[in-house]
């Protein structure tokens, strides 16, 4: 058996681990930090232009090898397991939540409050934006007041977005460009965006990706990154309720068990694998899994539901100018006094939907050559807007991640299964939500001779989170607001699992902000003991 020792052992190598490790090594340059990631390193930015080309031309995976074949979960929405995690191929959207998200109970009598003040979270939003390199413009709503400006000016609106903003704002609803972790000017050693239209594989590094942070960390003394290493179990100290070791296996040397020792362990493996590891580390003293005296590990799995529409309008839209950049309205983050609870964001993008080339004309006959082009040109006279709203659904306790004994990896570890379930109040709102959105789509379509081409409801919860909910009451939560587990004083959980609810917009910036806050608490331990 090989044993590795460090001051802080971080399990999982995604965006939360990158931010945590970076800040810890800044706050306490003398400490040693080890990050263990089951997937492999994909640090070949020099190949990304070619990966992008093959993705466009052949629909190949632009992140080759970013998965582990026998390490899959039912109910996840991304199979990516690699150094950088899902943020390797994220779109870079960096919306903030709003105070309503953290005060659901006290403001609306719904679900729960977060154990953190909004002003405190806002401070760390600013830091997260600075570290990720977010470009954006201020919200027109006074409730979205910021204590610091965005680090970079907003991405320029393309001609298409200018047209769509003009159209959408005829409803009286204000829109702004979506803040994104994309460089509108050279920033943090990375290049300015050159509008490649493929942000899920940014070939230049203009869109933030955790691999850049890990590469920087690897130049520092005391930092180690062990990739292709799967942590299978956390083991308790024989006398105390603290974590003594993480037992792991290297995927290329499966017969050599590995052991990691540290005074502090941090789970940063995301909403799926963090609760999975806690449940899989059950022992005689904690038969329901570690950190689980509340019984809430793998419970309150959250996310947000969504409805979308394509609306055709009289506008000259040129599909492909920058499909990755869009508009957002935060108007519906607020619930007007006296109105039933209903919260959502509202997004607008350019689209080619309804105006794509087709093989058969309206009469069903095959179109070839000039006839196909003429049909396409005729239909492309009008433009299309893609609309989507993420709306609040709050999880039931039974919205769960459990171990699936019928599905095991090569080492015989049961794989997780996630089943989302809304709470009773969210379920009761569903009809009203649908009516509201369809009225909203029609309201948008009233302008510029609009026509709703199609509407659709999402069949999964996007931006999933939860499973290790934070709270003040150890009987009703897994961690405190810093991610420190109530049951094990040297075990933290950071990132999306600690979110009680997933708000009504993308969550990456929020859990990154919370992780940066956790870093300060973890660093304090070393000031006291060093």
């Amino acid at each position: 058996m090989s044993t590795f020792e460090s001051d802080v052992c971080i399990v999982g190598g995604g965006i939360s681990a990158a931010m945590l490790a970076l800040k810890l090594t800044e706050l306490r340059p003398g400490i040693s930090v080890t990050v263990i990631e089951a997937g492999r390193k994909l640090f070949d930015i020099e190949n990304r232009m070619e990966y992008r080309r093959r993705s466009i031309e052949y629909a190949e995976n632009p992140w080759p090898g970013d998965f582990i074949e026998d390490q899959s979960a039912k109910g996840v929405i991304s199979r990516t397991m690699a150094v950088g995690g899902s943020a390797l191929h994220w779109g870079g959207t960096c919306n903030r939540f709003s105070e309503e998200d953290v005060r659901l109970k006290s403001m609306f009598g719904l679900y729960t409050d977060w154990p953190i003040e909004w002003a405190e979270l806002e401070k760390f939003y600013c830091e997260a934006e600075r570290r990720l390199g977010v470009s954006g413009e201020p919200s027109p709503h006074p409730e979205d007041e910021r204590s610091q400006p965005y680090p970079m000016p907003a991405m320029a609106m393309t001609h298409n977005l200018i047209e769509l903003k003009r159209w959408a704002e005829k409803t009286g609803i204000p829109f702004q460009t979506t803040p994104q972790a994309k460089n509108t000017q050279p920033y943090d050693g990375r290049a300015q965006c050159i509008r490649c239209n493929t942000c899920s594989v940014c070939p230049t590094g203009a869109r933030y990706s955790p691999d850049f942070t890990f590469k920087r960390l690897l130049e520092r003394n005391g930092f180690a990154l062990h990739d292709r290493t799967l942590v299978r179990k956390l083991v308790l100290d024989e006398q105390k309720a603290t974590i003594r070791t993480a037992q792991a296996v290297h995927r290329d040397r499966p017969d050599e068990p590995l052991e990691y020792r540290a005074p502090v362990f941090v789970l940063a493996s995301g909403y799926c694998w963090s609760p999975h590891l806690l449940l899989g580390s059950a022992c005689s003293r904690f038969p329901n899994g570690l950190a689980n005296s509340s019984g809430l590990v793998g419970r309150y799995m959250c996310g947000h539901a969504f409805l979308s529409a394509f609306i055709e309008i009289d506008a000259k839209i040129y599909p492909g100018m920058n499909e990755q950049h869009g508009l957002i309205s935060r108007q519906f983050f607020r619930v007007p006094t006296g109105q039933p609870f209903l919260r959502h964001d509202l997004r607008v993008w350019e689209s080619a939907s309804g105006h794509e080339p087709r093989l058969r004309g309206a009469n069903g006959r095959v179109l070839l050559g000039d006839a196909l082009l003429a049909d396409w040109r005729e239909r492309a006279r009008r433009g299309t807007a893609r609309i989507r709203g993420y709306y609040d659904v709050h999880p039931d306790r039974e919205s769960s991640l459990t171990l699936d004994m019928s599905s095991k990896n090569r080492w015989g570890d049961p794989m997780p299964v996630i089943q989302h379930k809304p709470d009773a109040a969210s379920l009761a709102r569903e009809g009203a939500v649908g009516e509201h959105f369809h009225a909203l789509f029609e309201r948008l379509a009233k302008n510029d001779n609009g026509k709703v081409l199609s509407t659709a409801a999402g069949n999964y919860w996007d931006h999933p989170a939860g499973g290790c909910q934070m709270g003040t009451d150890p009987a009703a939560s897994v961690t405190d607001s810093f991610g420190q587990t109530h049951d094990h004083e040297n075990l933290f959980v950071v990132g999306s699992p600690t979110l009680p609810n997933a708000g009504c917009t993308n969550g990456t910036l929020t859990f990154t902000a919370l992780t940066l806050r956790s870093a300060e608490r973890i660093a304090e331990r070393f000031r006291r003991t060093a």
Binding site: H89, S200, P357, L359
Partner: protein, 164 residues
């Protein structure tokens, strides 16, 4: 080595050989087909040559996109290049639009594939071209350059008209 990996390699090896030989003696057949299925504004011979390059660069067994929202791991199937050869031979060097339409009907091609899918060489050639950034530009008669890296400057303006 996993059986699945070995089979994938063997399939890729066999497919690679036939792809490299494409279109063999049927280069003129392919150019003739391009003249029928692509717009007259397009240089059909050049478009056919690009399609040949695409076929030769295709990698059977390559991982497919499984990113956000697509959790199933899939690999690219082998391109049925032998079918392409048979289909080109059947259409001959002077295919009529009716013959191409009939061939597509027979192959049960109902819409333009998102990417070439091997059902018929005619629909694959059409998908290859009409789904491209160049075709998008041609449709709008402007230099949108959807698949290019174009910089941010000037993007607030409509794209420039195509220079022909």
């Amino acid at each position: 080595m996993r059986r699945r990996t070995l089979l994938g390699w063997l399939a890729a090896l066999g497919a690679g050989r036939s792809q490299a030989a494409f279109p063999g003696e049927q280069a003129e057949h392919l150019r003739a087909l391009a003249r029928v299925v692509l717009p007259s504004e397009v240089d059909a011979a050049a478009a056919a040559a690009k399609f040949v390059e695409w076929v030769r660069g295709y990698r059977a067994g390559a991982e497919m996109e499984h990113g956000y929202g697509f959790t199933r791991l899939r690999t690219k199937l082998a391109l049925p290049v032998a079918n392409y050869a048979r289909q080109l031979a059947a259409l001959g060097t002077r295919p009529s639009p009716d013959a191409v339409s009939a061939a597509l009907e027979e192959a049960k091609v109902t819409d333009l594939p998102r990417t070439p899918d091997g059902r018929h060489v005619a629909s694959d050639l059409m998908a290859f071209y009409f789904r491209s950034s160049d075709a998008n530009d041609l449709c709008y008669r402007t230099a949108i350059g959807r698949d290019l890296c174009r910089g941010l400057a000037g993007s607030e303006n409509p794209p420039k008209e195509l220079r022909r």
